[in-house]
């Protein structure tokens, strides 16, 4: 059985470069792929520009953001020991989106370098810390979720308010774009902005992997194994805030990846919460890339927002999850 699971993970890993290739070949324009590839990074022909400056950063951003969301979802579900948890539940996405909106519409311009991801991540951190403080010392997972829902609702209201009074006349319509997420028109600059923060988040979560393992035995058992105190849960939350906050800063909020992916891969890693982090990152990257290929090939220039596509995939899975739980199939 375990061998089968290893094969499945290996297949997922092998599928990623293939999906990347498919993404590079997808688009409304038919390009001479090999010629564009040969021309290289600095190629001046339209095919080379399309390949290197438009398709490649978009596909890599899909991989990066999908990995951050998948990993964030797995960590959140491990921390809260709740199969329905995802980063957005604790206000991570809303905090990042609110900070981005405040920055972009009221303050510095898009080209303000590091300010955008930094403040988005700060927004995600503030949201998570607010949840943490609201839930109180030694809060149970259910109280954390409840505090998350409250903070999330408040942040959503603030976002609507901020956009309502934004100097841009189109800000109100753009809330929809933020809330559905998009990879369209993103380039290398956005990719490079998000990369270090997502990597930092991944490192933080890697540092907390043993804590997530111990937590499966319950909070008391985890404490008896040496994982007492606030350091570990806070580390997980900060890791999630860094990775997901950076992802939201450049693509907007893309839902359901963080919810669905950990469930898909958990059987493949024998329910190990540490391994599920990396498997979720891999599967999240693949899923978002495939969703983007779907958007590019079947929706075209109309550009159905990628969040809508992931919701189309995620919502039926959500139904299945509820039905499974009802039958007692979900532990």
């Amino acid at each position: 059985m375990f061998e089968h699971n290893k094969t499945a993970i290996a297949l997922l890993a092998a599928a990623l470069p293939l999906a990347l290739l498919a993404a590079l070949l997808s688009g409304p324009v038919s390009i001479d792929f090999t010629a564009a590839l040969r021309e290289g990074w600095r190629g001046d022909s339209s095919d080379a520009v399309i390949l290197w400056q438009l398709r490649l950063p978009r596909a890599l951003l899909a991989i990066l953001v999908g990995a951050a969301l998948g990993m964030g979802g797995a960590a959140m579900q491990g921390l809260l020991r709740n199969p329905l948890a995802e980063p957005a539940l604790l206000g991570v996405s809303s905090g990042a989106a609110l900070a981005a909106i405040l920055l972009l519409y009221y303050g510095l311009a898009w080209h303000s370098g590091w300010w955008l991801p930094l403040l988005s991540i700060a927004g995600a951190f503030i949201a998570v810390l607010s949840v943490w403080l609201l839930a109180g010392r030694g809060a149970s997972a259910s109280r954390l979720v409840l505090a998350g829902v409250a903070i999330n609702a408040f942040l959503s209201a603030l976002m609507a308010l901020a956009l309502n009074y934004a100097p841009s006349m189109f800000a109100m319509q753009e809330i929809v774009f933020w809330l559905l997420g998009s990879l369209a028109n993103r380039g290398w600059d956005q990719l490079l902005l998000a990369l270090p923060f997502i990597l930092a988040g991944a490192v933080l979560l890697f540092g907390c992997r043993q804590y997530l393992r111990a937590l499966t035995l319950g909070e008391a058992s985890a404490a008896s194994l040496g994982f007492s105190g606030r350091r570990y849960p806070l580390g997980v939350l900060l890791g999630i805030a860094a990775a997901v906050g950076a992802a939201v800063a450049v693509t907007g909020t893309i839902g359901f990846i963080g919810l669905v992916v950990p469930h898909l891969v958990r059987p493949l890693v024998r329910q190990d919460p540490a391994r599920v982090l990396w498997a979720s990152a891999l599967c999240g990257a693949l899923l978002l890339l495939l969703a983007d290929i779907l958007v590019l090939n079947f929706v075209g220039a109309q550009e159905l927002r990628i969040g809508a596509v992931t919701a189309f995939i995620g919502a039926p899975f959500f139904f299945w999850l509820i039905v499974s739980a009802r039958r007692g199939g979900l532990q």
């Binding site: 688009g27 409304p28 324009v29 390009i31 339209s46 095919d47 520009v49 399309i50 400056q53 438009l54 398709r55 972009l104 519409y105 311009a109 898009w110 080209h111 934004a166 100097p167 841009s168 006349m169 189109f170 800000a171 753009e174 774009f177 933020w178 998009s182 369209a184 028109n185 993103r186 380039g187 290398w188 600059d189 907007g252 075209g300 220039a301 109309q302 550009e303």
Partner: protein, 289 residues
């Protein structure tokens, strides 16, 4: 409507030839001299474009109210006199001002227009302009309502002269990239201005009036001139495409033309200027080739 009033004041029974001539001369005189006097003296507007046209072309003493949007720097193109009241498109705001003419756009403030009409206020709908024919129609409708003021007359004549110019023999290719990746195809004003200025709009080949275009389609089409919509300096996701690094090579080589934002919400203000500027841009591109 002033011309109708002029007709109504004419004789109803057949008159002798000399009498007819006198009536004809009188009618012309009324058209030329008396129209502004007969025209409305307390004008209100329920449309941001009509606000700007009124403020730009009509004696400010005749204006009693414009929309609140005209106080917004994004839309304001003419100084806003102190006595002019800002309205938010509610009938009751205008009733108190006792306007003798309310100008409304084709879309928007429909309820207020209907309510005002029901209450006996004269409301005239001025058609919106999405192409040249509609623009000329809009100018005519305004001229009939407001009296052909000097500025309005000048604009109408200038525009007709520009439109009559022969098309360029070897058009250059162009493409418009607007907010939310929109481009303008055949039948749209932006397309017609490009064609009149001697460009071939590549988006017109798609057959649709307004269509979405992905950045890679713009790059693959390789237009000789990339036309962007300007104005909105504040950040918006809608403008991400125009800020993408691949557009820089167009900017760096001077192959970009920025359309003024007025062309989007009130083309009558700037269409003639845009046409002239596009013609000059074409000349400079031809010189550098």
């Amino acid at each position: 409507m002033p011309p109708e009033r002029a007709r109504r004041s004419g004789p109803r029974r057949p008159a002798p030839a000399i009498g007819f001539s006198v009536v004809f001369v009188l009618a012309i005189a009324i058209q030329l001299f008396c129209l502004p006097a007969l025209a409305a003296q307390r004008i209100a507007s329920l449309n941001v474009c009509l606000d700007q046209l009124l403020l730009d072309w009509v004696d400010h003493r005749r204006i009693v109210s414009v929309t609140w949007l005209s106080a917004n720097p994004h839309y304001r193109r003419a100084p806003l006199p102190e006595h002019v009241t800002l309205n938010r498109g509610h009938a009751e705001e205008l009733l108190g001002l006792r306007p003798d003419l309310v100008l409304a756009g084709q879309y928007g403030a429909n309820r207020a227009s209907t309510r005002l009409r029901e209450l006996g206020v004269r409301v005239v709908t001025i058609p919106d302009a999405y192409n040249l024919a509609q623009l000329q129609q809009q100018l005519r409708a305004l001229g009939e309502e407001l009296g052909l003021g000097r500025e309005l007359n000048h604009q109408a004549r200038r525009f007709e002269q520009l439109v009559r110019q022969p098309p360029a023999e070897q058009p250059l290719t162009a493409m418009i990239l607007s907010a939310n990746n929109l481009t303008y195809g055949g039948g749209m004003l932006e397309h017609e201005l490009l064609e009149l200025a001697g460009f071939r709009n590549l988006a017109a080949e798609g057959g649709q009036r307004l269509q979405r275009v992905m950045l890679e389609q713009v790059i693959a089409a390789e237009p000789q001139l990339l036309v962007l919509y300007g104005g909105e300096q504040a950040f918006a996701l809608a403008h991400l495409a125009a800020r993408h690094p691949v557009i820089r090579r167009y900017v760096d080589s001077g192959r970009v033309f920025i359309l003024p934002p007025e062309l989007g919400f009130c083309p009558a203000l700037v269409a003639a200027d845009v046409l002239e500027a596009l013609q000059k841009k074409r000349e400079s591109l031809v010189r550098t080739q």
